[in-house]
Symmetry: D2
Subunit: 138 residues, 4 copies
């Protein structure tokens, strides 16, 4: 890549030592990569704050014996089909299913889909993981 | 189900009104389900605090052109294959991939896998969503 | 109080048992109080989401030897004096101070003050704790 | 200070531009300070994860008319007097008080005090803000 920028900054000695320990403890062999990842994590936070285009992973655990739940969950996904990238289903136990729904779109819309899924009767737990298209991170 | 328990509790009038508004604003038609979901969310938090059996969804965004990254990500998953339920891959853009890895096992082990994946060079963002087998939630 | 409302809801047996264990583990002797606290915590979350009147506690740790930092921190607080309820100062070590600033006002305004304080050079750490006037919680 | 260390790292052009925008949007005039603050925030997270010496700010909102609540809150604080740096009290309304308790000690001990305070009947909301002695941050 021809467009690398070099950035340098100073750190007091003790903070520098702490940073080295922290990198190692976090399993990073490369200090630059560690700092880039700190910056990227903050950038992803901003994408969600500013309701920009984002990627979200919605994880739900549900009891598939609850009447009409399957239909409702499917309907909700179809209502938003243009935003849904993929859905993965795992049979956890006799009664319980795990479903993970990957969504791309405005952050606020993703949140809304997660809320809609999560509150259905029979959905025991629902979680939204805020990720990114990566467009601003490379 | 023969084993339903009835639980009743009192609320001061204004708090009761707030609860009603909150249920409606959250899109719940059923107040009991709302309260059950509050309890379940706390239970899932405990499973993770106490390092119990849990389910985690790891979402990573990465640049698949980074040399050897694919191999490393695959190796890491194979090293933990007994815990990994499923992996879903989405091609986000020309360079960037989204991968979602569903893991079941002790909470601390799931965290470790997430950290290992996230810090690889070329992984632009990594997130862990703490979910549950649902065993304690029904 | 004359205006207590009674609310009752049903729980599947195993979830009921889990709730009892959770209450005990959390040190609550009273199950109703535990559930009321779950509801209250969610209500406070809403106050902040909806940018309503709230109370925030801003904690900063700083090095008071950094030139002009004291003046800047004082100025920032005076600019918002009508919202600031109280400030407590603790001398942590020879160089470092802890300051805790209690703020009442619109949630967004409190966030802004926290950000303004936190980014000053010499402020080593800043944190905002989202609390409430309690008006909706009783 | 004689012991400044200089650290330099490279960033791809687009990520560099994003970093500049993020600094500006966050109100930082100084990019180095922004990065140092990212590192410090992560270090504070580690202090709490590893149960090291930390500083915590506990904010509680309570109804001081609840019988014996004042005594219980005072007792709890006296039981931990060696860790408590200062307490600030604000009369929010006729019934409600805000109390902010600054605690220094092992992270796990601070959490325990926060939990003990928060679950008292009459305490409407309790929050723990995880801060630092700043020893590792300068």
């Amino acid at each position: 890549m021809s467009d690398l920028e070099r950035l340098s900054f100073s750190l007091e000695g003790p903070l520098y030592k702490r940073l080295k320990l922290l990198c190692r403890a976090s399993g990073y062999s490369n200090r630059s990569e560690f700092i880039r990842d700190l910056i990227r994590a903050r950038l992803v936070g901003r994408e969600w704050e500013l309701d920009q285009e984002a990627v979200g992973t919605i994880t739900i655990v549900y009891d598939h014996h609850v009447p009409q739940l399957n239909e409702k969950l499917t309907d909700l996904q179809h209502d938003n089909h243009s935003m849904i990238l993929a859905t993965t289903h795992v049979h956890l136990e006799h009664d319980r299913c795990l479903e993970v729904i990957l969504v791309r779109g405005r952050a606020g819309r993703i949140r809304k889909i997660a809320d809609d899924l999560r509150r259905q009767r029979g959905v025991l737990h629902g979680n939204l993981s805020m990720s990114s298209t990566g467009r601003n991170l490379a």
